[in-house]
């Protein structure tokens, strides 16, 4: 079933799949963490700015 | 107790708290050994278990001087000693926090560093197990050393001197487990010894630590 989608990697299946697996996980992880941090920072800033507004 | 544990963990993760530095130091020691010994794969793989243990031990050691000295300097220890919390418990909690922030991460990355040193594949599991069993002893013994040297400004080196001899049994059996494991030999005897040391130390050391700390606060 899998072999229908995956190309035949021969005896090197392990290193190739592991590389792509770990590489993609790291990349996606980095993007997700960045976006998560970005969202959090934005929310914090918005909270402070709106408080500022209501003060003024 | 929980408050103290949480505070210590929180401080460790805050800026300047030093979490992760132990790991980096571990990596560096491993690298340095490789540089110093020269890049001969077969030689490296023979000394790999020992080097990993030494790296873990030194990383642990270097983070010890933060364990109590910071609290001593800013007066927190005086206040903790007058708080409704037995000093033994407080020190055990601090040792636990130290292990979580230092020992545990070392256990987790040790196999990855094994790769750098050409550790034979069957050794990975055993170095992890050996460290997992042995590192709690390092933290608890280290707390004792930290308590003894707490009054000395920047007593890091003296601390090393006092603590390292106490680390020797753990090191010997721990490295033996890892070495035998890597060579596919039976590990049960040294592993039992290692576990025995850890339990013994966990049971007795906090009392000794509290006693010497009381003397130092005087």
């Amino acid at each position: 079933m899998m072999s229908a989608i995956l190309p035949d990697l021969g005896k090197y299946a392990m290193p190739v799949l592991a590389s792509y697996g770990s590489g993609l996980i790291l990349l996606i992880g980095l993007v997700c963490v960045s976006v998560w941090q970005g969202r959090k920072a934005k929310a914090a800033l918005d909270a402070v700015e709106s408080k500022d507004q209501s003060d003024a | 107790m929980k408050a103290l544990l949480l505070r210590d963990l929180r401080l460790a993760f805050r800026a300047g708290g030093g979490f992760g530095l132990g790991l980096a130091f571990f990596l560096i020691v491993v690298m340095l050994v490789a540089f110093a010994v020269g890049p001969q794969a077969e030689l490296l793989s023979r000394i790999a278990p020992g080097v990993l243990w030494i790296g873990a031990l030194l990383a642990c050691l270097l983070s010890l001087d933060r364990l109590l000295a910071l609290d001593f300097e800013d007066g927190s220890l005086d206040l903790l000693a007058t708080a409704p919390l037995p000093l033994e418990a407080a020190l055990s909690v601090k040792a636990l926090a130290h292990w979580i922030t230092t020992g545990l991460p070392l256990v987790v990355v040790a196999p990855a560093l094994g790769v750098l040193l050409n550790l034979p594949p069957q050794g990975f599991a055993w170095i992890t197990i050996a460290l997992l069993v042995g590192t709690p002893a390092l933290s608890v013994i280290g707390t004792f050393g930290a308590a003894i040297t707490v009054g000395i400004k920047r007593g890091g080196l003296l601390l090393s001197l006092l603590v390292l001899p106490l680390y020797v049994p753990t090191l010997i059996f721990g490295a033996e487990v890892a070495r035998r494991g890597a060579q596919g030999m039976d590990v049960s005897t040294p592993l039992l010894m290692l576990a025995g040391i850890t339990f013994g130390v966990l049971a007795c050391m906090p009392f000794a630590s509290a006693a010497v700390l009381r003397v130092n606060l005087r």
Binding site: - | R7, D71, D74, G75, L79, R218
Partner: protein
């Protein structure tokens, strides 16, 4: 409940510094310790707080009753003002962090890291810690160092409040705190002389 000190002799650095001290503090009372620099006030307070042993005499009523505050405030630079107080409140199993913050006028600084406070602000935080200990006896070593006049008044109010609820206070200080009905105890006359050997460790060699 009274804190009683009887014929106390204390030593520092191997030599006795004060000898024959006796006094008592009871509920709602404050005792101000006075004496020149180096007289032994700090040593006395540490002894009463249980951090060192007296070499003679007795202290009663202090056990687990004392909130001690010295020069070092025990603040963590990397925790916020509120987190610092919350930690101590939890250790002593109390709440009242908000009240303490209000009392010492720290409301605006609540979320600042303690490391970024000025000298006087740090001190206020150190004193606020006393309120979250719930302990009846306050043992304070020069509590008003670095405080401006307004803050000294805040502190005096806090002490008065503490006394009014049946607390006690033992305060070493060089300045006038404005606590009207506090007794004053001068340690000067009790300075240990050559002939008060009471077992401090160096004496075996004299």
């Amino acid at each position: 409940m009274t804190l009683t000190v009887t014929d106390l002799t204390i030593a520092r650095g191997g030599l006795p510094v004060l000898a024959g001290l006796s006094f008592a503090v009871s509920k709602g009372q404050a005792l101000i310790l006075r004496g020149p620099n180096g007289a032994g006030k700090t040593t006395l307070l540490r002894t009463i707080a249980g951090l060192q042993e007296p070499i003679g005499g007795a202290i009663s009523g202090a056990e687990d009753q004392i909130a001690y505050a010295a020069h070092a405030d025990g603040l963590k630079a990397m925790l916020s003002v509120r987190e610092n107080l919350e930690f101590w409140a939890e250790v002593f199993g109390q709440d009242g962090v908000d009240a303490a913050i209000k009392t010492f006028n720290l409301t605006e600084l609540g979320d600042r890291l303690a490391g970024t406070l000025s000298a006087g602000q740090k001190r206020r935080l150190g004193l606020a810690r006393l309120l979250v200990t719930g302990r009846p006896i306050w043992v304070l070593d020069e509590p008003t160092v670095s405080l401006d006049v307004a803050s000294v008044a805040l502190f005096a109010d806090a002490v008065r409040g503490h006394l009014a609820t049946g607390g006690m206070a033992l305060i070493a200080t060089h300045i006038d705190l404005g606590l009207e009905d506090a007794q004053v105890f001068d340690v000067g006359p009790f300075a240990a002389t050559m002939d008060t050997p009471r077992g401090a460790s160096d004496e075996a060699f004299l």
